[in-house]
C-alpha cells in the first residue's frame, strides 16, 4: 500500500462524500438535537448506509460484508467528519467488528457479523471508568461463579451505549487495578440482562454516549470475548484502530472547517475589501493549509499500517491521534475567531465543529496521552 488512493478508493470516497452531503448533512445533526431524539441517530439513514455496504466495510464476504478494509473505513469516516454525522460507524462498524474479529469464536462471529453488516445490530465498547482515557485502570470486576461470571462496577463515556444491543465490556478478572494483565472482555446483551443500568449522557457534540453501572450482573462463560485474563491482547489493537478511525474523522472535520472559513474570508467585506486580503488572516490560513497536508499524510499512513498489518501500528495510532487531536483544537479555534461574531452563533456550523472536535480529541486518549505513549514506544 502506498500513500496515494487507488481508483477504487477514490470511487468510494466520492460515493461516501455524496452520501453524507445528501443524507446526513449538518442539518441532520441539528434536527436530532432540536427534536431531542431519544436514539440520537437516524436509523433509516443507517439502514441505507448498510445497504450501500458501509456497515460491512471490515466484514468478509462470507458474512455479507464488503471487505473495503481499514483504508476504506477511513475514507468513509473522513467524509462523515465533514458533516459531523452521528452514526454507529465508530461504535459498531469499527470497534465492535474489530473486537469480534480479533477475539470472537466462530460461533460469535457467525452470530454477530452478518447482523452488523445489515445494520440491524449496534454494539458499544464499555472501557472508560474516569474522565481521562486510561484503558488499564479498570476497577470493574468480573468474578467467576460456577459456569458464570458476575460483574460489578461502572463505566462512563460509552459511545452509543444507550442504543447498543450488545456491549463489549472490559472487566478485571485478576491483577492490580492498573495492570494490563487480568482484563477480560464480555459480550453482554443489554436488553435482557439483570443489574445493568444504562443512562444516556448528553454531550456537547450531540453524539451518543452513556454511563453504565453493573450490579451483580451475571453472564454465562460463553459471553467471554477472547480469553479470560487476556483481554488486553484484543483491547489494545481495537483501541489503536479506534484512534486511527477518529483521526480520519477529524481529518474530514478540519478540512471542512477550513474550507468553510476560506469561503467566508473571500466573501466577508470590511473596510471595503474582503477580509481574506488581510495578511494577518492569510498567513494563519496558509499555516493551516500546510498542517492539513501533514495531517493527511499521517492519517493515510496510519490506515495503511492497519491495512498491511504492520508492526508499527501503535506508533502510527499515537502519531495520528495526537496530531489530529491537537490540529482539530487549533483549527476550530482559529476558524471560529476568523468568522468573528457570527462564529459564536448557533446558526453557523463552526461552533458545532468545535464541539465535536473536543469530544473526539478526548476519545481514546488526547494529544498528551499519545505523545507520552509514542515516547514510551520509542524507548524514551
Amino acid at each position: 500500500m502506498g500513500l496515494v488512493l487507488t481508483e477504487e478508493q477514490m470511487l468510494l470516497k466520492d460515493t461516501a462524500a455524496q452520501f453524507f452531503q445528501e443524507k446526513l448533512p449538518v442539518a441532520n445533526l441539528r434536527k436530532l438535537r432540536d427534536e431531542k431524539d431519544a436514539t440520537g441517530f437516524d436509523r433509516s439513514v443507517w439502514k441505507e448506509m448498510a445497504n450501500l455496504g458501509f456497515a460491512g466495510v471490515l466484514v468478509s464476504e462470507t458474512y455479507g460484508g464488503t471487505e473495503f478494509g481499514p483504508v476504506g473505513l477511513g475514507i468513509v469516516l473522513e467524509q462523515a467528519g465533514r458533516t459531523i454525522a452521528a452514526t454507529p460507524l465508530l461504535s459498531t462498524v469499527l470497534l465492535g467488528t474489530t473486537a469480534l474479529q480479533l477475539g470472537g469464536t466462530q460461533t460469535q462471529r457467525q452470530e454477530f457479523l452478518p447482523r452488523i453488516t445489515t445494520g440491524d445490530l449496534i454494539l458499544a465498547l464499555a472501557v472508560e471508568e474516569g474522565p481521562h482515557h486510561n484503558p488499564t485502570q479498570i476497577a470493574t470486576t468480573a468474578t467467576a461463579s460456577g459456569d458464570n461470571f458476575v460483574l460489578n462496577g461502572s463505566k462512563t463515556f460509552v459511545l452509543d451505549g444507550h442504543i447498543a444491543n450488545y456491549l463489549v465490556v472490559v472487566a478485571r478478572t485478576s491483577g492490580e487495578v492498573n495492570a494490563s494483565e487480568g482484563l477480560t472482555l464480555f459480550l453482554i446483551n443489554s436488553a435482557d440482562t439483570k443489574g445493568l443500568e444504562v443512562t444516556r449522557t448528553l454531550m456537547a457534540d450531540n453524539h451518543n454516549a452513556a454511563n453504565i453501572t453493573f450490579k451483580d450482573v451475571e453472564v454465562p462463560a460463553t459471553a467471554v470475548l477472547g480469553s479470560v485474563d487476556g483481554g488486553w491482547d484484543i483491547l489494545e489493537p481495537v483501541l489503536d484502530f479506534g484512534r486511527i478511525g477518529i483521526a480520519a474523522e477529524l481529518l474530514g472535520l478540519i478540512q471542512e472547517a477550513f474550507d468553510q472559513t476560506l469561503t467566508y474570508l473571500k466573501e466577508r467585506q470590511q473596510f471595503g475589501v474582503p477580509i481574506g486580503s488581510f495578511q494577518a488572516l492569510k498567513h494563519r490560513m496558509a499555516e493551516m493549509f500546510a498542517e492539513l497536508e501533514v495531517c493527511r499524510s499521517v492519517v493515510l499512513d496510519a490506515l495503511n499500517a492497519l491495512e498491511d498489518r504492520r508492526n508499527d501500528i501503535p506508533s502510527l495510532a499515537s502519531l495520528a491521534k495526537a496530531r489530529l487531536s491537537e490540529a482539530s483544537q487549533h483549527f476550530t479555534n482559529e476558524c471560529l475567531q476568523m468568522h468573528g461574531g457570527v462564529g459564536m452563533t448557533d446558526e453557523y456550523d463552526i461552533g458545532l465543529f468545535m464541539k465535536r472536535a473536543r469530544v473526539a480529541a478526548a476519545t481514546f486518549g488526547n494529544a498528551g496521552f499519545h505523545r507520552n505513549r509514542y515516547a514510551q514506544l520509542q524507548g524514551f
Binding site: 499521517v298 505523545r371 524514551f380
Partner: protein, 394 residues
C-alpha cells in the same frame, strides 16, 4: 527487472573498485568536496572519488549523457543511491551547479550553452555561485537593479549583489541582471560570467555563527560575453523563479537530512538531562523531544506522499512552498531544542571545555536561523500559499 538487477551488480562491482576506503567514513569538516578551480584537497582520495564519479556522470546521475550526465533512469538512479548508501559513501560532489543551475540550463539554455557548461559542472571543474539578492532587493527580488547594458560585442555589468553563497570560492556566477529599466519583472535577464573577469570583487560577510559563507559581490564595468545570456533577453524572471524552486527543494531537503531528530536527540537528552526508569527525567524536555520526533515523522510521511503522488502523475501544486516553510521551521525548532537539551554545554563558543559536537551544536543553531530567511522567507512562502493555492485576494 533482470536488466535492473544486472545494473545493480555492475554498480556494486564498480563502486567496490572505485570508492576509496577513507570515503566510506563520516566526512570530517574541511573535506567537503565543492570542487572548482580553487579547490584544495586535504584528502587526495576525495579528489580521486570525484574524478571517478564525475567521469561516469554519476555526480548528476539523471542528466543526459551527451552533457556529461549519467543518463540513468529513475529506477537505475534509485539503485545507485541505494548502493552508495550501502557502502556509506560520502557524496562525491556538493554543487550549486548540480542542485540549482544545471536543471535550469537543461530547461532553458541553448545547445552550445549546455555543451559548454553542464559537463564541467558534472566533473566538478567549475564551482558556481548564485547572484540573486541585492541590498535593495531581498524578498522583493524582482526590484533588482544590477545594470546590464548591451555594448554591441559584449554586455557591461555594474551593480552589487549580496548574500552570494561562497562567492569568494566560486569560479563562475549565474546572475539576475536588469536589461530594461522601464519595466519590473519583464526587464530581467539571466547572465553567466567568470568571477575572474576584471571588475568582480567578492567580500565575505561575518555571520552570527562566526562563519562567513556569504559575500557581498561588487561588479564594476564587468564585461560579459553575449553568448552567456541564457534564454531570451528580458525573460530571465521565468528562469529565476524555476531556479528558486530548485533552491527551495534543496533547502527543505537539507533540513530533513539533518532532521531525523529522533533517537539521537532522545539519547542526547538522557545523557545531558538524566534518565529515570528508561525515560528522559525532565518531563518538559521529554515532551519537547517527542514533539520534535513526531513532527519530523509526520513531515517525512508528507515528503513520501508527495513523491508517490508525483510518480502516480498527480501533482500537489505549490508543494515546494509548503516544504520550504515547514522543513525550515522544523529544522529551526530542532536546533533550538538541541541547545536546550545540552544546557550550558550547548552554548560554548570555542575551546577545550566543549566537545566538537557541542561546539558544532552552537554554530548550527545560529546557522539554522537563516533557513527561514534564505531562498524566500517563511513570510514570502506563506504569501505564495495564500495567493496561489488558497486563492486569497491581494
Amino acid at each position: 527487472m533482470e536488466a535492473l538487477e544486472q545494473f545493480r551488480s555492475e554498480t556494486r562491482t564498480w563502486l567496490e573498485e572505485n570508492c576509496p576506503p577513507s570515503i566510506r567514513t563520516p566526512m570530517p569538516e574541511g573535506e567537503t568536496p565543492w570542487g572548482g578551480r580553487k579547490a584544495s584537497w586535504t584528502n587526495p582520495e576525495s579528489k580521486q572519488w570525484l574524478d571517478a564519479m564525475g567521469g561516469r556522470g554519476w555526480t548528476a546521475p539523471m542528466w543526459p549523457s551527451e552533457y556529461g550526465g549519467g543518463g540513468l533512469t529513475k529506477d537505475e538512479n534509485k539503485i545507485l543511491q541505494q548502493e552508495l548508501r550501502r557502502i556509506k559513501a560520502r557524496p562525491a560532489l556538493l554543487s550549486f551547479g548540480i542542485w540549482m543551475l544545471g536543471p535550469a540550463l537543461l530547461e532553458f539554455a541553448n545547445e552550445e550553452q549546455k555543451k559548454e557548461h553542464l559537463p564541467k559542472i558534472v566533473r566538478g571543474e567549475i564551482r558556481w555561485c548564485q547572484g540573486y539578492s541585492e541590498p535593495g532587493a531581498g524578498s522583493d527580488l524582482a526590484d533588482l537593479q544590477t545594470k546590464c547594458e548591451d555594448k554591441g560585442d559584449h554586455y557591461l555589468v555594474n551593480g552589487q549583489k549580496i548574500w552570494t553563497s561562497y562567492a569568494d570560492k566560486a569560479d563562475w556566477i549565474f546572475a539576475l541582471v536588469r536589461t530594461d529599466t522601464s519595466v519590473k519583472h519583464a526587464g530581467i535577464s539571466f547572465l553567466l560570467f567568470d568571477m575572474e573577469t576584471p571588475g568582480v570583487e567578492a567580500r565575505p560577510i561575518s555571520m552570527i555563527s562566526g562563519a562567513s559563507p556569504f559575500c557581498e559581490t561588487f561588479f564594476t564595468d564587468v564585461k560579459a560575453k553575449k553568448e552567456n545570456l541564457v534564454g531570451e533577453l528580458n525573460k530571465g524572471w521565468t528562469i529565476a523563479k524555476r531556479l528558486l524552486q530548485h533552491e527551495r527543494d534543496m533547502i527543505s531537503g537539507m533540513g530533513m537530512g539533518t532532521g531525523g531528530g529522533g533517537a539521537g536527540l532522545a539519547d542526547m537528552a538522557k545523557e545531558y538531562v538524566g534518565e529515570s526508569n528508561g525515560q528522559i527525567s525532565d518531563a518538559t524536555i521529554r515532551d519537547a523531544v517527542v514533539r520534535q520526533k513526531m513532527d519530523s515523522h509526520a513531515f517525512g510521511l508528507t515528503l513520501q506522499r508527495t513523491n508517490e503522488e508525483s510518480k502516480a502523475g498527480q501533482s500537489m501544486g505549490a508543494a515546494s512552498s509548503i516544504f520550504k516553510y515547514y522543513g525550515t521551521e522544523l529544522n529551526k525548532r530542532r536546533n533550538e531544542l538541541i541547545i536546550e537539551v545540552l544546557g550550558t554545554q550547548g552554548l560554548g563558543w570555542e575551546g577545550d571545555s566543549f566537545s566538537t559536537e557541542e561546539l558544532s551544536a552552537t554554530r548550527s543553531w545560529l546557522r539554522s536561523k537563516g533557513n527561514s530567511i534564505e531562498g524566500g522567507t517563511t513570510e514570502v512562502q506563506l504569501n505564495v500559499i495564500s495567493k496561489r493555492v488558497l486563492g486569497l485576494p491581494d
